[in-house]
Amino acid sequence: MIQGIPIEHFLIVSTIMFFIGVCGFIIRRNLITMLMAIELILNSVNINFVVFNRYLYPDQLQGHFFSLFIVGIAAAEAAVAIALIINIYRKLRNIDVENVNEMKF
């Protein structure tokens, strides 16, 4: 199914997606949307792993497994992050990241 599609195209897609995630992480205020941006970043990394595996080392499954593990870690991270967000919400009545600045100088 991927005959004729060069590897670079996949990588360009994942790169752009990664930096959209970075951009979103920096510009969004809401903690949940920041979390979504992180999911985007992780997802783009996953694509990279899988694509490298398919194109460069089709006789092995390392990239594949790495993506699997990343999915698992993403799930764990999302669970903890949401727990934290809920706690912050309880305390501050909103989830703007700018209000979470108690740990400054």
Binding site: V22, F25, I26, I27, V97, E98, V100, N101, E102, M103, K104, F105
Partner: protein, 638 residues
């Protein structure tokens, strides 16, 4: 000769007493420490007398006295040739010094039981006394010059402690510091002298250094510095050390101030023991000085002569009785130094050496007596100044009699001991140097005059209004006075010329009438003048003082030596050397260090704002930093 092994106890007992009273004395009743110290010192005194008896009279001395080393151990071994020993050396002068030190120390211990009664720090006082005695004993029995130096410094420390005994009194603190710094300064000369000497000869041992005709100085002749031979340098420097301890001009300034200490301390340290350490040092090194560095011996003679004249003149004008005694001590020490300076070596030639040691011995007795008597007077009158005293002979008969004996002794009235020893010195001076003889002759008259000025002022004259009637001192104080008076009277008959001589061989002396008669006469003249001027209250002294005007004022102010020293140290050294250095240290060195801290602090305040707590700023910084790093790596560094 054997059987002197027990002499090790002589320095050890005071050391043990010092440790015990020093560490535990606070917990006991004060009198326990006092008694312990006195009993320990009594034991030491007895042992010293035994040693002296056995050494001097215990055998046949056809070929002179042997040097005995009953005990010696290597303390520090650097190389085979360079090692520092600790030991005990017995020869005539060290045995004589043992007797002097333990006698005076024992008397002072006994006397202090009464004098210091009820003082705060009684136990501390006795601990320091023991420490001082230990150091002094260690000094005189040293087998090598380095051991001597160690104990020399210990003596300095313990005298510092004793002078500053009343440490709440600012003048006592200042005096103790002054004494310590001045003597310490002189000790530097001593140390350098030791180093030169040991460099030249390769040994510290007195035995090897003072052996007649020894070859170890062979290499010294070729060495010189600034046109003066190495040995002259070494001996002069060592003499500077001795001059510091013995308060020779111009390092004398600490001794009068040291009278701030308790009076028994003055008697012990500043009359009989510590100040003669310098004389003892010169006597110990005498063969070396005489044969290797005649120039240094000349210096010693002239410094001694000048000091004795200078101090005697100042003593005439002082009113503090302890200061009069202090300057009198200076004057007598000058005598001893002068005698060493004019002495030859061996037999009759060594008369000066013998006379010096003889005078040291007698002087220790009568000067300690004078100080203890002064202490007794001060104890009764509660003042140091003679214009607060007068007519005391009625109230204090024992003190009066003993003080009179001491004054007659120091004035050189026969047949008291001072007459004999002073006479020997004058004879020795006459044989070698007419100028120094003339100086000493005048000083003899001056000595008689100022001592009797003191005596008449204190014991005769009008009664003053005392706060309470002066009373005779307690028995613990008067017994030492009586003992020392007896010693002052009779010690002149000791056959010193058979016992303590430069080459350890006895020789015979005779009375030199040509010297003895004039010296007695000038002494009597001095006494007579004092009688006329001070026996009755009169206005003559004041008129005389007015007549001499500026001269009198200068003398009264000790020729402004303290002021000169102060000027040199405070104005010149402090202002032009120390202050710029201090400024440099405070502003440049410290400023540099403080600056580092300040800059760090300022910067941290500036960059503190970056720690904003804004997660997104951090993320931006992180990503931007990573990118910048990647960019620079890709395009600029590769």
């Amino acid at each position: 000769m054997t059987g002197f092994a027990y002499t090790i106890l002589i320095p050890l007992i005071p050391l043990i007493v010092f440790l015990v009273t020093g560490l535990l004395g606070m917990k006991w009743k004060p009198i326990v420490s006092g008694l312990l110290g006195t009993i320990g010192m009594g034991t030491t005194f007895t042992l010293s007398l035994l040693t002296a008896g056995k050494y001097f009279f215990g055998g046949h001395h056809a070929d002179g006295f042997q040097t005995i080393i009953p005990f010696e151990t290597t303390w520090l071994r650097f190389t085979d040739t360079l090692h520092i020993n600790m030991g005990i050396l017995l020869d005539p002068i060290s045995v004589m010094m043992l007797v002097v030190i333990t006698t005076i120390s024992f008397m002072v211990h006994l006397y202090s039981l009464g004098y210091m009664k009820g003082e705060k720090g009684f136990a501390r006082f006795y601990a320091f006394l023991s420490l001082f005695t230990f150091s002094m004993l260690g000094l005189v029995i040293a087998t090598n010059i380095f051991q001597m130096y160690i104990f020399w410094e210990l003596v300095g420390v313990s005298s510092f402690l004793l002078i500053g005994f009343y440490y709440t009194k600012p003048s006592a603190v200042a005096a103790s510091k002054k004494a310590f710094i001045v003597t310490r300064f002189a000790d530097l000369g001593f140390l350098i002298g030791i180093l030169i000497l040991s460099f030249v000869t390769g040994t510290f041992d007195f035995g090897k250094l003072t052996e007649p005709g020894t070859a170890i100085f062979g290499s010294a002749a070729s060495m010189s510095f600034m046109g003066i031979s190495a040995m002259t340098w070494a001996m002069t420097l060592i003499f500077i050390g001795g001059a510091g301890k013995s308060a020779m001009f111009p390092l004398h300034i600490w001794l009068p101030d040291a009278m701030e200490g308790p009076t028994p301390v003055s008697a012990l340290i500043h009359a009989a023991t510590m100040v003669v350490a310098g004389v003892f040092l010169v006597a110990r090194m005498f063969p070396v000085i005489h044969f290797q560095a005649p120039a240094a011996q000349e210096i010693i003679g002239y410094v001694g002569g000048f000091t004795s004249l200078f101090a005697a003149v100042i003593a005439i004008t002082q009113f503090d009785i302890k200061r009069v005694l202090a300057f009198s001590t200076l004057s007598q020490l000058g005598y001893m130094m002068l005698a060493l300076g004019v002495s030859g070596y061996g037999g009759e030639e060594g008369l000066g050496y013998m006379a010096s040691m003889f005078h040291l011995f007698t002087h220790a007795m009568f000067k300690a007596l004078l100080f203890l008597g002064a202490g007794s007077i001060i104890h009764a009158v509660h003042s140091n100044y003679m214009y607060d005293m007068g007519g005391l002979r009625k109230y204090m008969p024992v003190t009066h009699i003993t003080f009179l004996i001491a004054c007659l002794t120091i004035a050189g009235v026969p047949p008291l001991s001072g007459f004999f020893s002073k006479d020997e010195i004058l004879v020795a001076a006459l044989h070698h140097n007419k100028l120094l003889f003339a100086v000493e002759f005048i000083v003899a008259g001056l000595t008689a005059f100022y001592m009797f000025r003191l005596y008449f002022n204190v014991f005769w004259g009008k009664d003053r209004h005392y706060h309470h009637t002066p009373h005779e001192s307690p028995l613990t104080m008067s017994i030492p006075l009586m003992f020392l008076a007896v010693a002052s009277v009779f010690s002149g008959f000791l056959p010193f010329h058979h016992l303590v001589t430069s080459d350890k061989m006895g020789f015979d002396t005779e009375m030199h009438m040509a010297v003895a008669v004039p010296s007695v006469l000038i002494g009597l003249l001095g006494i007579a003048m004092a009688w006329i001027l001070y026996k009755k209250e009169s206005s003559i002294p004041a008129k005389l003082a007015n007549k001499f005007g500026i001269l009198y004022t200068a003398t009264y102010n000790k020729f402004y030596f303290d002021e000169i020293y102060l000027f040199v140290t405070r104005r010149i050294i402090f202002n032009y050397i120390s202050r710029p250095i201090a400024w440099f240290d405070r502003h440049i060195i410290d400023g540099f260090m403080v600056g580092i801290g300040l800059v760090t602090e300022k910067i941290s305040y500036q960059i503190k704002g970056m720690q904003s707590g804004q997660l997104q700023h951090y993320a931006f910084m992180f990503v931007a930093g990573t990118l910048a790093l990647a960019l620079s790596l890709l395009y600029f560094l590769m």
